[in-house]
């Protein structure tokens, strides 16, 4: 035990003796780990946000569409309302168009349901089903110089000359929901009745949102719908979450593959550093062996050097990465996109521990080969080495 501690101190002093090289190698590892950890944090935030958004929209609701993606007759809404356990079926119409010559995504829902789809920041909701009133995202309204009370012209393929709507409220920009549905286009909400006219979808809906009386009943309601209407595709919060998860997993895989490259680069840097250490010390390794240091102990010394580099780089990198993740979530992402995307910054030990573990594993693996070579150096040859 004392011997191992003593040899570890030897490795530590060796590294301390060449601070510049040690520092640069550790920095190389730190950069790789920092990128990994910050991406990890962004990914955690993304997952939390997606979960939250889906939950806000759906909660214990069910989305019903036609299997062939065609519009569903509004008649189905009445049928669904009759299924036991269903609180309310809400028809939803969506489509694209232009608002004041800008791309717009039109969302049409019954007037009394608008507020469960859009959060109103300023002004009020649409007053009646027949009112020519709409809600616009605050950010796009500001950009277009539109305020509450202004009149905007909505143009769709079915209303080519356009229809004038009065802006009665400004909504919160829908975050991820917005991103998923409309991309950079503004979501303009109108009443279901006006949407039917604008998008020529009289008597049909693109999807139906089914609210359930008791959240624990979701699966039995889903089964009832599936049995009664086999043509309908039914998805619950869980299904949507699963889909979202699989998309996020793909994004993660891409992100981590890219940052794995930086870890490999850091590993090669560590390998180089340890190899150089050994090259410079061939004679000394010969001396150590001639005074009775075993091959395993030589291996230990240089593995220790690699591990210390990894630990150092991993610690610095994890701390940097957490800081970087914070900056990306709070400063970079909100500015990078036109619509606001506010991810939560989640500080958990997970990214830190993972970053450290990856750094240590990578440095261990990359110093293994040169260290093994060092342990095999024959003392006679090493002593002759100048």
């Amino acid at each position: 035990m004392i011997t191992l501690l003593y040899l570890a101190r030897y490795a530590l002093r060796d590294l301390w003796g060449k601070k510049v090289r040690t520092g640069l190698t550790a920095l190389g590892i730190a950069i790789g780990i920092a990128s990994l950890v910050s991406l990890f944090i962004v990914s955690l935030g993304l997952r939390a946000k997606v979960g939250e958004s889906i939950n806000t929209l759906l909660g214990s609701s069910i989305i019903v569409r036609m299997r062939n993606s065609e519009p569903i007759s509004v008649y189905v809404v009445h049928l669904l309302n009759n299924i036991p356990g269903v609180k309310k079926a809400v028809p939803v119409i969506v489509g694209s168009g232009l608002v004041e010559s800008n791309n717009a995504f039109i969302l049409a829902v019954p007037v009394d349901e608008i507020q469960s789809f859009q959060t109103i920041l300023n002004g009020s909701s649409i007053s009646s089903p027949n009112a020519l009133e709409c809600l616009m995202p605050k950010e796009s309204a500001t950009r277009m110089g539109i305020s509450i009370g202004s009149t905007v012209r909505l143009v769709t393929p079915y209303a080519q000359e356009g229809v004038s709507f009065k802006v009665v409220g400004l909504s919160e920009v829908g975050g991820l929901l917005q991103a998923a549905l409309a991309g950079p286009a503004s979501v303009v909400a109108v009443s279901l009745e006006q949407g039917e006219k604008l998008l020529n979808k009289r008597g049909v809906a693109d999807m139906i949102l089914v609210r359930v009386n008791d959240p624990s009943n979701v699966s039995s309601v889903v089964n009832a719908i599936k049995i009664t209407y086999p043509n309908l595709a039914v998805s619950t919060e869980e299904d949507v979450l699963d889909q979202a998860q699989s998309i996020l997993n793909t994004i993660d895989a891409v992100i981590f593959t890219i940052s794995a490259i930086s870890i490999v680069v850091a590993g090669v840097g560590t390998m180089n550093s340890v190899t150089m250490s050994i090259r410079e010390k061939i004679r000394e390794i010969g001396v150590l062996k001639s005074i009775g240091t075993s091959p395993a102990q030589i291996l230990y010394v240089f593995l220790m050097e690699g591990l210390i580099l990894g630990l150092l780089g991993g610690l610095i990198g994890s701390v940097l990465g957490i800081g970087l993740g914070y900056v990306v979530i709070k400063q970079v992402l909100p500015r990078m996109f036109r619509f606001e995307i506010s991810l939560p910054f989640i500080l958990s030990p997970e990214p830190f521990v993972n970053g450290l573990a990856i750094a240590i594993t990578a440095s261990f693996l990359s110093s293994l080969l040169p260290s093994l070579n060092a342990s095999r150096i024959r003392p006679v040859e090493a002593l002759r080495y100048e």
Binding site: R283, S294, L383
Partner: protein, 292 residues
């Protein structure tokens, strides 16, 4: 009579330099070194001195012949057994000192003891301090790394390090080859003193001055070893009676530390009763020799 410290029997070493080019570095060399001997091997460069030294130090293996150290045939031992063997039986002193650059003077001497796992940190430190005093290393330089020591001081540390695990013999390769005259004289005096305290020493050198303090001189030429005809040796101890007396006291202190160490090892069952008896006997012999 116990077995000789080192016995080389008909040792040959052939190097292959590329295809078909053979270099016979050692030709049928036999050498017997008794415990307590102080011998030197002199000869021109390329005569095979270093090869013999490496083989005697188990750093290299003979092509044919056998090598016995303290009665144990080491010719066929595995690399890891040889490492263990070197650690406990052989002390090396090199021309270029070869101290470990990251360790202080004191730590360099402690290292072999810690590698042997027979000493606690405290025991190793105390013994290292005594050994450094024995070889006349200045006490205010104990914490200095090798690059802040003079050549003579570095060689003293190397000698103390070689003594650390009570080796069967010390192998010194040109120990004064890289030193100025006065440092050489100190190292020569130190080696002579250590031999008078019962340490077996084998020196390889081409410094005839150094060879003259040894009891036996071997001459090496073309891979063959000849024993030199006896001639005038420098028998006189090159230091005053008072200095010698203080060195004796240090050596006796070291033997006392050793006795405490083996008693602790025996009590904690880290060595067998037999090994304990042998070590005790060994210590008594040494004590008698120092006191004589």
């Amino acid at each position: 009579m116990s077995s000789p410290a080192l016995e080389c029997v008909s040792v040959s070493k052939t190097y292959l330099l590329g295809k078909d080019i053979e270099v016979k570095a050692l030709k049928n060399v036999s050498l017997r070194v008794e415990k307590g001997d102080f011998i030197s091997i002199i000869g021109p460069s390329g005569s095979g001195k270093s090869t013999l030294l490496h083989i005697a130090g188990t750093l290299d293996r003979p092509t044919s012949g056998r090598v016995l150290i303290d009665g144990v045939d080491v010719t066929e031992l595995s690399e890891s057994s040889l490492t263990a063997f070197r650690k406990n039986k052989i002390g090396f002193v090199f021309q270029f000192f070869n101290l470990i650059t990251n360790l202080s003077a004191l730590e360099n001497v402690m290292l072999p003891m810690l590698l042997s796992r027979r000493y606690t940190l405290k025991e190793a430190r105390l013994k290292a301090l005594h050994l450094l005093r024995l070889v006349g290393f200045p006490e205010d330089r104990l914490r200095n790394p090798p690059n802040r020591l003079s050549g003579g001081q570095q060689q003293k540390v190397a000698i103390a390090r070689a003594l650390a695990n009570n080796p069967t013999y010390i192998l010194a390769d040109e120990p004064t080859g890289n030193l100025d005259v006065s440092s050489s004289a100190e190292i020569i005096a130190t080696l002579k003193l250590l031999n008078s305290f019962g340490n077996t020493i084998i020196i390889v050198t081409h410094n005839v001055e150094l060879a003259r303090i040894t009891n036996k001189i071997f001459f090496m030429r073309d891979g063959q070893l000849y024993e030199e005809a006896p001639r005038s040796f420098l028998e006189r101890m090159p230091m005053g009676e008072e200095a010698l007396e203080s060195k004796r006291r240090i050596q006796l202190d070291i033997l006392k530390l050793e006795r405490e160490n083996i008693e602790r090892l025996f009590k904690s069952r880290m060595i067998s009763g037999e090994a304990y008896e042998r070590a005790l006997k060994n210590l008594e012999d040494k004590e008698a020799r120092v006191k004589h």
